[in-house]
Symmetry: C2
C-alpha cells in the first residue's frame, strides 16, 4: 500500500499549479471531489486542504491509470503522477473561478489509497443536512471548505497570539486542570480520586488563582491558551469545554492592560484578516453603557440610543404618565427608545404589535409605545389618552422625538428595563438593517460595580472576589456595598463580550474585607482560599489580568454562526458527543475502585 | 496603593543597568533579596525575574525613602525611583559576578507595595528544605532562580515547537478532553455527567483517535500541545496530568516523520540551548537495541554492550555451563556483560557483591559473574568450577574478554535477562563514570514487534491497536502474531524515551484483522471504536504520527532532576496538591446532582 508513497514525493498542493508550471512532472494527492467522463476520458477534480486541481485520465496518457480511473468515485483518496498541460491545449476551457483553472494534469499513474462509500451528505458548503447527521459524521463535516477555513483561522489566531505574547516578554506557563473543588462559584465537573477514595477534584473553570500565584512567584507576565470547564446547562452558545487566552501581569495599572491587549487584538486582526485596526479602542463606563444601550456589552455599530426618562418625569404632577407612576414610587426607572421616522416607517402596526411578544421573552409584561404625530402628539398608543401635554413634551424632548418617530417605553426595575430595551434595541437594529457588515467596533467597558445584590438580599461578586475595589471605595466595603466600584474591565466587540478582567487585590486585609462584605466568615474563606491569603503574606506584587474567550473570538473572526463551527468536536446541548456516543455507562467495578457507586433510585 | 504605578513607569529590569547607564533616572520594581546597613545607609539587592540590582538608600539621597527603607525586610515587594551611579564613585566595589555589578541606584523614592513575613525557606537554589514544605508554599518555591529558569526554558520550548510546526504547514487544532470511556487501555479518570445521570466521560489519555479523524477530515498536518490524563499509580517520575506535543501527518512514510521531527528537535535545541545538533539521528532496530543494550531506549553515551551467549553455548556439550542449561532447554536466553579491566579494577569484590542485591530489584534471582585471569581463566566465580574450558573460551571470545575484565551473566526469559542486564549496564555506566556530561545522543528505535504476549497467553498491542503492521506481515495477523512487526518508532535521548509513534492503519479490513488478532470480537470493537471504522469507510488517507512527552523533554533540556521541577503545580505520589489540599470531600447534594454517591463501606 505504501509503495506509491515510498516511490513518489508529493510535488505540489492541489492549489499550486499555474500556467507557468506547464510541462512539469508532478505528483498530487488528495480526494476525488467530482468525476465526469467525456470523450473517452475521465476528468476528476482532485481536492486537498489547499484547493482543487483538474486531473485527466485517458487511454493515450496512461493505459493502466485510465482503466483504474473508471473505478473512481467521490471521496476516494488517491495519488497521481503526471504532466501539467494547459486546459486549452487539450480542447478544454480555462476555469476562471479556480486558482488552478488554466491547467490540468494528464495522469500517467494512479494509486488508490482508499475507497469511499457514498457519504451521507455532500462535502460542500451550502448543505441543509441536519446538524445531528453532520455531528455524527464530524470527520466528513470537517472536510467541508467552510469548516476547513474556520480551523485555519483558528490556527492562525493561536499563532498570532502566542507570537505576540512571547514578543512582549510573557512567559507561557501551564496550570493544573484537576484542582481543588471550591463550592459557590460556577458549577464544576468533579473527578473522583481513586488514590483518595471519597475525595474529588474539580475540573478547573479557569486558572484564576494559579495565575495570581504566578505573580506572587515573580513571573511578572504570564499567558496561557488553556481549556476550561463549566458544568452549566448548555445553551446554544455554550460548551462544557471552552478555550481561554489567559493573561496576568505584575506592576501594572489598567492602562498597561488596555495597551497590551489592544496590541494583541491588532496583531490578530492583522495576521488573520489583514485588517489594520485603529487604536486606542473606545472606552465607556458601565454606567454610560447601561444608560445609553441598556447593556454592558453594547453593539456600537449602530445608534438607537436609549434615554432615561425617570428624572424627566419625576418632577411632574403625578409623574405625567399614570402608567409609569408606580415605577417612580417603587424606586424603579423609566426609559424610552426612539426609532427615527425613516426606519419607523418600515415597521407596520402589526410588526410593532409583535415586538410586544418579543420583549416578553426578556420578562417584560408589556411594551408601551407611541407614534409621534405632526404636532408632537402621540398616536397608536393607549398612553395618548392619559399622558399630560407637559409630560409628552418633556418625553419628546428627552428622546429628541419628531414627527413619524416611533417611541417605545419600559418601566420597572433597573435590571428589567435595561434588559428589555437593550434587547429590543439589538433586535430592531438588525431588523431595520442598521447594522453594517464588516465593521469591528471594539469597546472597553469600565468602572463596573463591585457587587450585585441577589433577590435574597445577599451580595455577590459581580466579577469575582479577587477583583480590586477602587481604592477610594474600600471604605464602603461591608457598609455600603452598592457604592463600591471595581477595577474591572470588559472588552466588547460588536456587542459580544470577548474578554474580561480586573486589577486584583494584592493586600490580605483588603481581600479579607471583600470576603466579609460577601458574607463569608473567616473560616469559610480560609477553607476555600486559605492558600491564596497565605501567599499574600510574602510580598505579593500589585497585579491584574484578563481572559479572552478564544472560541467566541474565532467565531467572530470567521463570521461563523455558532461556536460549534469553530470547535472541532463539540458537544450537543445535552452534553453528548454524537460521533463517539460519550458519555457512557461504566462497569460497577470501575466505580468501585473510585469509591463511588450509582445513586440508588 | 497604585499611585506609584500610576505616576511612574518601570524603566528597566533588575538585570539591565550597566556602567553606560550612569546618570540616568530609573524606576525599578521587584523584591528585596538581601538588605544590609553600612555607614548610615541601607543597601538592598532588588530582585525581579531578570536579575538583581543594588539599590542604596541614604539620608542625603532621599530622606523619606531612607527612613522608610529601615522597614525593609527580605521579600518585601517594592518600587524605587532614583539615579544610576557607579559603585566605585560611592566608595564601593564592583561585583564581577553580577551583570549589573558595576553600578548601583541611589534611591530617591521608595514605595512598598507589600510586606512579607519571614519565608519558611530561603529563596535560593541550594536549600535542603523538605519537598513537602516547598510544595505547600509553591508560590515561594517558584521564586527560586533555578525554578524560574526551568519555566523560562519550558516557555521557550513551547515557542520553538509552535513556530516550527506553523512554519512547516501544520494546523494547530484542539481535541476534547472529556471523551468516551473505552475500557481496556490505560486507566482513565472518570467524570460523572450531570445531564446524563449514570453516565461518565473519561478524561482523554491522548488525542489519538481524534487526530486520526483529523486526517480523515483532510487536515493533512496537525499538531497540538495538549494536556493528557492517566489515573496510574504514581511513581516518582509520573504525574496524573502531563503535557504532550501531539502530531499527525497524511500522505507520508516513516521517513517524513523522522525528518520533520528531527527538524523540530534541532530547532528546539538551537532556540533554547543554542546547540546545533547533528542530523540525521542514528537509527537502530528494536532487535538490535535489545541485543546490545537490553533496552528499547538505550543510552548511547557509553558502551558496555551486552552479548547474547545463547547460540554460543547451545552447540556445546551440556550447554557448557551447567547453571545455564535450564535456560537453553526452556526457550530462555543467556547474555553477558563485560566490564573492561580498567573500570573493573575500581569495582571491589564487596561492591560487585552489592550488585547482586541491585539486580534483584529487576527480578533477578542472582547475578553470576567472573573475573578474567591472565590466561583467560575465571576467578571469583562459582562458575569457574563447572564451566568447561571450551565454553569459557567461547564466552570470552563472544564478549571480547581479556585479563582483568569482569563478566556478568544472566539467563532466563528474554524479558528478565534484558531487564536485568540493561538495568545493570545503566547502573554501572553511571557508577563507573562512563556517562559524559553535555552529550545529546538521539536515537530512533524502529521495527518494534506489533504485539506482546501477556502471561495469560493473551496478545496485547505493544504500541496501540491503530498501529500499522508492516505490509508484508499482515498475512501473519491472528495466526503468528509474534512474527508481526509494526511500523512504529520511538525517539530516544540519552536513554529516555522522549517520543513514540507509528504509521497508522488506514484500511478498515486491516484494522478489523488487528482487532481480531487481539481477541476482540466484532461487537467489542464496534462498541469501542465503531466511529473510527465508520470514518474509514470514506476515503481515509494513509497517515501516521508521533507524540512527545513535553514534561520529560523540558526536564532533559533543563538538566532537572524531577518532573516536579518543570511542572508549575505538580501533584504528589498520592495525587494530592499540598498547597490547595486537593482533592477534597464534597457535599452529598453535589453528588446527588451527578447521580452518584459515595460507596457504602
Amino acid at each position: 500500500m505504501s509503495e506509491f508513497l515510498a516511490d513518489k514525493k508529493r510535488t505540489h498542493s492541489c492549489n499550486a499549479l499555474r500556467a507557468s508550471d506547464v510541462g512539469k512532472d508532478v505528483v498530487l494527492m488528495g480526494w476525488v471531489a467530482h468525476r465526469r467522463d467525456h470523450g473517452g476520458r475521465v476528468f476528476i477534480d482532485l481536492r486537498d486542504r489547499e484547493g482543487l486541481t483538474q486531473v485527466v485520465f485517458g487511454p493515450e496518457i496512461g493505459k493502466e491509470a485510465h482503466e483504474l480511473a473508471s473505478e473512481l468515485r467521490s471521496e476516494y483518496c488517491i495519488g497521481i503522477a503526471g504532466k501539467v498541460v494547459t486546459r486549452v491545449s487539450s480542447g478544454g476551457q480555462p476555469n476562471p473561478k479556480l486558482a488552478t483553472g488554466e491547467v490540468e494534469v494528464n495522469a500517467e499513474t494512479l494509486h488508490i489509497f482508499s475507497r469511499s462509500e457514498t457519504p451521507p451528505f455532500l462535502i460542500e458548503d451550502e448543505i441543509d443536512t441536519r446538524e445531528e447527521i453532520r455531528l455524527k459524521h464530524r470527520y466528513l463535516d470537517l472536510r467541508r471548505p467552510a469548516l476547513q477555513r474556520n480551523f485555519l483561522v483558528r490556527s492562525k489566531l493561536y499563532r498570532a497570539a502566542r507570537d505576540y505574547f512571547h514578543g512582549e516578554g510573557f512567559t507561557e506557563l501551564e496550570t493544573p486542570f484537576m484542582v481543588k473543588y471550591t463550592p459557590g462559584g460556577a458549577r464544576n465537573f468533579l473527578v473522583p480520586s481513586r488514590l483518595n477514595p471519597g475525595n474529588f477534584y474539580a475540573l478547573a473553570e479557569s486558572p484564576q488563582i494559579f495565575k495570581q500565584l504566578f505573580m506572587v512567584a515573580g513571573f511578572e507576565r504570564y499567558f496561557q491558551i488553556v481549556r476550561c470547564f463549566r458544568d452549566e446547562d448548555l445553551r446554544l452558545d455554550r460548551q462544557p469545554e471552552f478555550t481561554q487566552v489567559d493573561v496576568e501581569m505584575s506592576f501594572i495599572t489598567e492602562e498597561d492592560i488596555y495597551a497590551t491587549m489592544e496590541g494583541l487584538i491588532a496583531r490578530a486582526w492583522k495576521d488573520v484578516l489583514d485588517v489594520d485596526l485603529p487604536r486606542p479602542f473606545l472606552r465607556m463606563s458601565y454606567r454610560e453603557a447601561m444608560l445609553k444601550y441598556g447593556s454592558d456589552k453594547p453593539d456600537l455599530r449602530f445608534g438607537l440610543e436609549l434615554a432615561d426618562l425617570t428624572e424627566v418625569l419625576r418632577p411632574l404632577e403625578g409623574g405625567g404618565v399614570p402608567l409609569f407612576k408606580g415605577a417612580l414610587e417603587q424606586k424603579g426607572i423609566i426609559k424610552g427608545l426612539r426609532i427615527p421616522a425613516k426606519e419607523a416607517a418600515s415597521l407596520s402596526r402589526t410588526e410593532a404589535d409583535k415586538l410586544e411578544e418579543f420583549v416578553k421573552g426578556f420578562g417584560a409584561r408589556g411594551l408601551a409605545r407611541a407614534r409621534v404625530g405632526e404636532g408632537g402628539e402621540w398616536t397608536q398608543s393607549p398612553l395618548s389618552k392619559t399622558v399630560t401635554p407637559e409630560a409628552r413634551a418633556a418625553v419628546n424632548a428627552a428622546l429628541g422625538a419628531g414627527p413619524g418617530d416611533l417611541l417605545f417605553f419600559q418601566f420597572g426595575s433597573f435590571k428589567l428595563v435595561n434588559a428589555v430595551l437593550g434587547g429590543l434595541r439589538l433586535h430592531l437594529g438588525h431588523k431595520l438593517g442598521l447594522v453594517p457588515e464588516g465593521q469591528w467596533r471594539f469597546l472597553w467597558v469600565t468602572d463596573f460595580p463591585m457587587f450585585e445584590q441577589a433577590e435574597s438580599g445577599q451580595w455577590v461578586a459581580a466579577h469575582h472576589p479577587f477583583t480590586s475595589p477602587k481604592p477610594e471605595h474600600v471604605q464602603y466595603l461591608g457598609t455600603d456595598n452598592g457604592r463600591v466600584e471595581a477595577r474591572a474591565y470588559d472588552l466588547v466587540l460588536n456587542g459580544n463580550e470577548i474578554a474580561g478582567g480586573s486589577i486584583r487585590i494584592h493586600q490580605r486585609e483588603v481581600q479579607a474585607k471583600v470576603f466579609a462584605a460577601l458574607g463569608l466568615s473567616e473560616d469559610d474563606f480560609r477553607a476555600k482560599f486559605g492558600f491564596l491569603l497565605d501567599a499574600f503574606r510574602y510580598g505579593p506584587p500589585p497585579h491584574g489580568g484578563i481572559a479572552f474567550g478564544l472560541d467566541r473570538l474565532t467565531m467572530l473572526l470567521c463570521n461563523a454562526g455558532s461556536l460549534r463551527d469553530v470547535i472541532a468536536f463539540p458537544k450537543t446541548q445535552k452534553g453528548t458527543d454524537l460521533m463517539t456516543d460519550a458519555p457512557t455507562g461504566v462497569a460497577p467495578e470501575q466505580l468501585d475502585e473510585l469509591g463511588v457507586q450509582l445513586k440508588k433510585v
